[in-house]
Amino acid sequence: MSSLTHLHPLSASVSRSPRRIPVIPATRLGMWIFLASEVGTFGGLIATYVMMRMWHHEWLHESAHTLLSIGTINTVVLLTSSLTMVLAHEAAEAKERARTRRFLLLTAGLGLLFLCLKAFEYSHEIAGGHTPKVSVFWSFYFAMTGLHALHIVGGLVLMLYATLGLRHDCVLRRVAPIGLYWHFVDVVWIILFPLMYVTTH
């Protein structure tokens, strides 16, 4: 019986049957399985980068050309978007459609700002001659940050979809898995930021 009091803080959607078998909504279970596969994708890339970094001593000098200021602002933007996303989730669980829409749009706006800053960063680096062809470091840099940016685009599409269909209860329930996805994208950036920016300056 005590396990019944340990329900999800924002919903009672994860509950336990009398035989203590977890009951998980399909959308949330599907999202977690997807995120586990994403751990393999990003984890493999990051593990390979770290090993290559140990090998290539000259990367220390090349990586000093990444823009720490833009990277820092983008980190603040993503952390803030995680806050607005969790507030959207909270509003969705309370079935407050207007507040959910407001926070989802705010999150999407911050995601868009992240992409704009990333585009500026890319243009600055390419103009400085730092293209993926120059070295393995820049190949890794563009591959990892580019894949991350693609995930941001995916998150924006999901949020737009949720915002447009908020009048339906089923869409309101999908804010939770979209939130999981967005927070995961944030987690990936929390690893990429020190890897690509902080330890290089």
Binding site: L7, A12, V39, M51, L83
Partner: protein, 109 residues
């Protein structure tokens, strides 16, 4: 199943409304940790600085997963799924690392 979930969520006398964490305070903590990692980047010893920076990053990830993703409240099966995926990545890393170090040496930077 839906009816069962509803009954579990509403009619159980032991059920208490969960207290939401202060999300804004958590966000402030994350920003402070970001500032700390930027300061740690100024440590001249790259090995020490790098270790501390990734330590702070690990704390930030733990905070996001615990409070924003509500990992604490997910069933153990989902937690095990993520841990298994992470273990696969670590197996890849530590499986190949000795070969990389043996063949090429370690820059230590």
């Amino acid at each position: 199943m839906h009816a069962q979930q509803q009954s579990l969520g509403t009619s159980n006398p032991e059920h208490v409304d969960p207290v939401h964490p202060n999300y804004v305070a958590i966000w402030v903590i994350l920003l402070v940790l970001l500032g700390v990692s930027l300061l740690l980047g100024r440590i001249p010893n790259a090995a020490v600085g790098g270790t501390l920076i990734f330590g702070v990053a690990a704390v930030k990830i733990a905070i996001v997963m615990r409070y924003f993703m509500h990992m604490k409240f997910e069933p153990w099966l989902l937690v095990a799924l993520m841990v298994a995926a992470l273990l696969c990545v670590l197996a890849l890393f530590f499986g190949v690392l000795p070969d990389v170090v043996w063949r090429n040496g370690w820059s230590g930077r």
